[in-house]
């Protein structure tokens, strides 16, 4: 920059803190410096989730299904806030149920999502950011999970329908000359098994609720106390609690057996 033009000299008079950086090399395109391939390159690499990985054994996180319970203030618009969060951030959502709790000011949303671990982590954190959300918790795999399905089938063989219904503890809730409608409650696998089996009679319609879920025993589902304060206590409590992750009515202090 020794041969500054007169304009550059003019500029000089203004400056004290800023050195003129223009050069007058007319032939040059772009900026100076070693070319990309001449530069040192780092050894490491990250995967798509931004986690540093050994480039030799690059492994992606596999999605898994998680049941997340969300306690929210019972007010208009909360459900749409939660559901739009899922669509906006492209979280996979398998089912979402919402209902009142024993506290009239609180509602509980149960979300079943399928994401890799970092995604599930993000789902929980983003949910916590919503102002009407009071607490968020992923339920343990052994949590009580229930769905309800209403299945309407052709009633050509009412007694066979009744026999299958019996197998699945399903209740007949409506019948006509040509249809039988049954209500099945239970785990997702049971519901799917039931629908599959009812298929032999010719299914006219199915209506399903999605999963409602609750932690077992004294564990909190998603309590009203501060999340951070309770999470560890809950986890500690859970270590002593060997809940069976099967579809049996359980002897907990809630009303899990009300489907019978």
């Amino acid at each position: 920059m020794s041969d500054e033009s007169t304009e550059n000299a003019e500029r000089e008079t203004h400056h004290d803190d800023v050195a003129p950086r223009a050069n007058t090399d007319e032939s040059r395109e772009g900026l100076a410096g070693p070319l990309p391939h001449e530069r040192p390159t780092p050894q490491g690499r990250r995967n798509k989730q931004g986690i540093r990985v050994d480039p030799e054994v690059e492994a992606e996180h596999e999605p898994r299904r998680a049941v997340i319970s969300v306690l929210v203030t019972h007010e208009p618009g909360v459900l749409s806030e939660v559901s739009s969060l899922f669509s906006r951030r492209q979280f996979n959502i398998e089912s979402l149920t919402v209902g009142a709790t024993n506290d009239p000011d609180r509602a509980r949303i149960t979300v079943v999502t399928e994401e890799p671990d970092p995604g599930i982590d993000q789902v929980e954190k983003q949910l916590r950011k919503l102002i009407p959300v009071i607490s968020v918790r992923e339920l343990d795999p052994d949590a009580v999970r229930r769905e309800l399905a209403i299945v309407k089938v052709d009633a050509e063989n009412p007694s066979e329908v009744a026999a299958v219904a019996d197998m699945y503890d399903a209740r007949t809730v409506d019948a006509s000359q040509s249809t039988v409608t049954v209500e099945v409650t239970g785990s997702r696998q049971k519901i799917e098994g039931a629908i599959d089996t009812f298929g032999q009679f010719g299914i006219r319609e199915v209506t399903r609720t999605g999963t409602a879920a609750q932690a077992r025993g004294t564990n909190r589902t998603a309590g009203t106390a501060s999340e951070t304060a309770t999470t560890e206590a809950v986890e500690a409590a859970h270590a002593t609690d060997g809940g069976e992750p099967v579809d049996e009515p359980d002897a907990t202090n809630d009303t899990d057996t009300d489907h019978q």
Binding site: R11, A22, R46
Partner: protein, 618 residues
Amino acid sequence: MTDPTETATDGGAAIPDPDATTTDADPDSTAETDAESTPADEESTAGSPAKAPVRTGADSVVRALENAGVEHLFGVQGGAIMPVYDSVYDSEMRHYMMGHEQAAAHAADAYGIVSGSPGVCLATSGPGATNLVTGIADANMDSDPMVALTGQVPTEFVGNDAFQETDTTGVTAPITKDNTFASSPESVGDDVGEAFALAETGRPGPTLVDLPKDVTQADTDREPGPARPPDTYHVHEHAEDDAVAAAAEAIETANKPLLLVGGGVIKGAASEQAREFAMDYEIPVVTTMPAMGAFPEDHELSLEMGGMHGTGFANMALTHTDCLIAVGCRFDDRLTGGIETFAPDAEVVHVDIDPAEISKNVQADYPLIGDAGTVLEQLQDAVTETPPATKWRATCKQWQSEYPMDYAAPEDEPVKPQFVVEAYDAATGDDAIVTTGVGQHQMWAAQYWTYTEPRTWVSSHGLGTMGYGLPAAIGARVAADAEGKEDAAVVAFEGDGSFLMTMQELAVAVRENLDVTVAVLNNEYIGMVRQWQDAFFDGRHSASEYGWCPDFAKLAEAFGAKGITVEDYDEVADAVEDSLAYDGPAVVDFRVDPEENVYPMVPSGGDNGQFALEADQL
């Protein structure tokens, strides 16, 4: 305020110890409010004795703003917001009537950036509210504190597709920190106070209160309670000690430590702590674009801005660091490039007040959830040894000399835009505030201005809103004047395309006699698009080339502003001087080199370390 205990605990205006969070950024307002309220009748309301009692929901809205220390409003009138404006008529708050609601939102946003306290914008229902949307989204992307108040059709008409009805809370839910539909005249003031508190607490962001006309018109004498965030909102200020200790150990043993300063450092008023930390432990510093000014760019540890159009040396440092201490940043893709190649050898210490930012895009090995300043102080205490990074600092220095930020400026070619930026920088003080639109001019303003102070760089980072510059300059000017910085220059760099999107706001700048300088870096192109078309679309200039541009100087004169046109290098110095010296809005149309491109450049999703210095390297 009817409940004196509430006032006492939350520092409403009636006691001389106002809540720090609502007033610390605006000492003048504090002093003024105190002076007025100290002799106030104990039986009277929270405001000054001169203030009329609350009679309507709208009065309550205005009172809530006054109680929060608001002094300036930016907005546009309209049917459903009229009751609120009628109450504003009696208030001491100064209202700036903007040309378009988008500009009201940008002005409020910029006001929030410069002052640190939420800017407030108002609009009516329907188109007023939807016109705010771009500005709200912009504030949301950049976590700027802002409160939007929108009129709404009367509650009984909501859902009927009434005249000027829009589901404003529905439309703005994804782009606000929180929004509320005011349901009662008794609580509407509390809703506004809560929105204000929420906008500035924790990670800042825009909030909105939708105000149906029946609610603002209805009678109420209830004084709103103090502005405070809802009970369900919790902020962690301190990081956990164990986590801090672990991070400190990683920092102490790092051979190539790098401090990545994000916009959260400015929002958290943590520039001092960041400077102290970097200087004490001799750690080189890269800033994200929103953080420019948090660390002085003329300091020897500064590597300036990183990312897509960041400096070569910043991107080399980001690529080779073994310990990245990221404070208040969200690892936007314009910073990281392809995530696979971002700081691939680094253990990441991530400080953020928003837990959801931790490991969102880049996994944090040492997550530290808390306020930027508080956690930096914790780290300052926990780190006891300077990392062994003498060689690393020398490497960074070498990169600085290998990849200089200069440009060819042959005399026989049109003026280089970078030259204009440098000329304004040289002619203004460190306290000068730069605002920009979005595009090439924004990048040159980022690259070639040397930022040394926080809150002097006001731009649309995350959303990339063309037309942001002038309305932002208006908000910045008002905020700077309110802080007694009347002498600080406010320079809006705009592109020709960007400026044309909101230039009607010159009418506001002239009417209000706001001293702002608009430097239009006019290349008669949507320049960044043209650059990308040349690089990635075989030079096919689809819808980026006008071939004709209005005469900006004449337009400025028609608005009543000063207009100057610059064609040659030898006119630059005088134009810069005259435009800055002019008391009032001035527009300089710099006819710059239309072929100039922004480099260095990391193409979208590219490797930061492989930044291109010219088109052939892309």
